[in-house]
């Protein structure tokens, strides 16, 4: 290996959704000069949507991504609700959408924890890469792997029952929902519910115990102080479907609260950087340098005041106690926070399935027509914004999307740089385990890179070492 400046490339990053690469530039003393997460996909969905009829949007936007289509479906529906003047949905419509959303959280969080990140947590970051994968989990922890699949399947069945299909459903329509939940559908879903809640409870314990037992190793890994943002209800309660923006500093000071969803662009702005297709959002008041923030499970637990379900609230209190009630800035704590959310979704599904409003027949409302609408929702990966303008012929004339992974763009880049500086600075031989730590820090955010840039990923892993002139010094290829 050459002794001059080197550029390390991890491409694509594995066990994340979509296609990105990491480059790390080392100087002649092998000190990290620069480390970046590059998003190498581009779709241009916002442009593609222009000219389409507004009623089509909640269905169309699901094609942004097959991973979290429900978030786009519901967020677009909320924006279109505003345009059609549906400011207050019926109880049945609201609760059907809520059930759909919690079904998605359950399936998405289960997939990530059990099958994408658990190999790192259960085998260790330096474990043999031949073992540190989903097959290794199936071999060593088959019951855990099975639970992961069945939790995800259950979440998908909730989506099927509420949206009509597991992928790209049509449930949410402008002003409401196109179906209720039949008694037969409800009874089918109730059959496995007790088991689902029990497994969700167990996995919170697993995530908590893992985090606390390994806190010394986890606390610095890709961690840094940051602001956090999410929507919360007016009383500060955690809510993934409806609420207003709240952001706090790393120390817990409120930066913004009860921000009006329809004028989100008064409090947030987006910066473009030439080396990435993803934009960099920031809080206007703080500017692009200091205004970046984190979203997703960790941020949601940091900004909310309480959960309205008992098991998740008890788990949140345990989580908050570790930092004395102040925001937690440990990147790897995303996993524990994510599992508390999974438990909350299981509990909420339980409550909703016992609510007779789901069998109501009052499904749609209308109101005074507007030419613009914004929907904000908490997607599994963080706050999601859909903003549309329409003309008098009901055609979309403008679309702006800020997807969750975009908000975590700056934090993921900081996490990559932090890990690179902590583990690669001055090191003569760079091991696979060192490079895996870079990926571990990215995986904590559960990024959906396809979604964030809006294309289909190719998933083999190629790691290349380049010298200062760009010549490839070493190359490894592995299957994803």
């Amino acid at each position: 290996m050459g002794k001059g400046a080197e550029r390390i490339v991890i491409e694509p990053v594995t066990r994340v959704e979509g296609h990105g690469k990491v480059t790390i530039l080392l100087d002649e003393q092998r000190q990290v000069q620069e480390a970046r997460l590059h998003i190498v996909e581009f779709r241009g969905f916002e442009r593609f949507i222009q000219g389409r009829p507004l009623w089509e949007i909640p269905v169309l936007v699901q094609r942004l991504c097959g991973i979290c289509p429900v978030s786009h479906h519901l967020c677009a529906a909320k924006a279109i609700d505003h345009i059609v003047g549906a400011d207050q949905l019926t109880a049945t419509a609201h609760k059907m959408r809520l059930l759909m959303h919690h079904g998605q959280f359950l399936q998405s969080h289960a997939l990530h924890f059990f099958h994408l990140c658990s190999p790192d947590l259960l085998f260790g970051f330096d474990a043999d890469v031949a073992k540190r994968n989903v097959i290794g989990i199936i071999g060593a922890h088959p019951e855990l792997a099975r639970q992961g699949v069945l939790l995800r399947k259950y979440g998908q069945e909730i989506i099927r029952a509420t949206a009509g299909k597991k992928i790209h459903g049509t449930g949410a329509i402008p002003g409401g929902i196109n179906k209720n939940l039949s008694l037969a559908e409800r009874d089918d879903l109730l059959t496995d519910l007790e088991q689902i809640v029990a497994w969700s409870r167990d996995v919170v314990t697993l995530a908590k115990d893992y985090t606390l037992e390994h806190l010394e190793e986890l606390a610095p890994l890709g961690s840094f102080d940051s602001s956090h943002m999410a929507i919360v209800r007016d009383d500060g309660a955690y809510d993934i479907y409806d609420g207003r923006l709240r952001a706090c500093s790393a120390e817990g000071e409120v930066i913004l609260d009860h921000a009006d969803n329809q004028t989100y662009h008064h409090v947030l702005a987006e910066e473009v950087r030439p080396w990435s297709y993803m934009k960099f959002p920031f809080i206007r008041e703080l500017g692009p340098r200091d205004g970046w923030y984190r979203v997703g499970p960790l941020a949601r637990l940091n900004v909310c005041d309480y959960f309205d379900t008992p098991l998740a609230e008890a788990a949140r209190k345990e989580f908050a106690a570790v930092t004395g009630g102040k925001p937690c800035n440990v990147t790897m704590a995303y996993h524990w926070a994510r599992m508390i959310e999974l438990l909350h979704s299981a509990e909420t599904i339980d409550q909703l399935l016992h609510d007779p409003d789901l069998q109501g027949n009052d499904l749609v409302v209308t109101g005074e027509r507007r030419l613009e609408g914004v929907g904000i929702i908490e997607a599994p990966r963080g706050t999601l914004f859909h903003h549309y303008r329409v003309n008098e012929d009901d055609q979309i004339t403008m679309c702006n999307l800020i997807v969750s992974t975009t908000s975590n763009n700056e934090p993921m880049n900081r996490a990559v740089k932090k890990v690179a500086m902590d583990h690669l600075n001055g090191v003569e031989t760079i091991t696979e385990g060192m490079l895996n730590r870079v990926e571990v820090a990215i995986r904590a955010y559960d990024p959906c890179l396809s979604c964030a840039t809006h294309a289909m990923g190719q998933m083999p892993l190629v790691v290349e070492l380049h010298d200062a002139d760009g010549a490839v010094l070493d190359k490894r290829v592995r299957d994803a």
């Binding site: 594995t14 066990r15 994340v16 959704e17 979509g18 593609f48 094609r63 097959g66 991973i67 289509p69 399936q107 997939l111 099958h115 031949a130 994968n133 989903v134 097959i135 290794g136 199936i138 088959p142 792997a145 099975r146 992961g148 699949v149 069945l150 995800r152 399947k153 998908q156 299909k165 597991k166 992928i167 790209h168 396809s450 289909m456 990923g457 998933m459 299957d479 994803a480």
Partner: protein
């Protein structure tokens, strides 16, 4: 001795917005028009939890657009294909068969029905002319295969419960 019932699942997947990639879902629509008793799953792509779904069946046919169907379409037997890692953006039928075996101790017979397409690159909601022809030929071939395998045997019986669920059962 009574034979165990054979349960058939047809799993069709693809993206209706990507031209001929939508062959799978369009096959599902056409199949259900002509044989509504068959259990059909339709998806944008295969997903991990489909391993649990296929574990409940004896025979699974995966239907997808293909770029290597030189005769217009193919119907091939496929085997489990263990994989060390995966992305939910890319799950192949063989991966699901392996997962189904590893996690649920289930080994359904499996076939891939690949239907030849030509145009995948652009946003388009219509099939190409070639794909439309291939779809029609593949459907006829599948129905003939289905009829031979499931409907034409003298000992066929369809229980009321299975009919209701859209599952044919065979047995003495």
């Amino acid at each position: 001795m009574k034979k165990a019932p054979r349960r058939l699942l047809v799993s069709c997947y693809g993206n209706l917005s990507r031209g001929d990639d939508g062959l799978g879902p369009r096959f599902a629509d056409a199949l259900l028009e002509r044989a509504p008793e068959i259990t059909v799953e339709v998806g944008y792509q295969l997903a991990l939890e489909d391993a649990a779904t296929i574990a409940d069946y004896d025979i699974v046919v995966f239907v997808d657009a293909a770029i290597d169907a030189t005769e217009g379409f193919y119907l091939r037997r496929i085997q489990a294909e263990p994989k060390t890692g995966f992305s939910s953006h890319s799950v192949r039928p063989g991966h699901l068969l392996a997962l189904s075996e590893q996690l649920f101790d289930a080994r359904p017979e499996a076939f891939a029905l690949g239907i030849g397409g030509m145009a995948f690159g652009d946003f388009a909601e219509q099939l190409s002319e070639t794909a439309t022809r291939n779809l029609s030929a593949a459907l006829d071939h599948f129905l003939a295969w289905y009829d031979r395998s499931f409907c034409s045997q003298p000992d066929i019986r369809v229980s009321a419960q299975h009919l209701e669920r859209g599952v044919w059962a065979l047995g003495a």
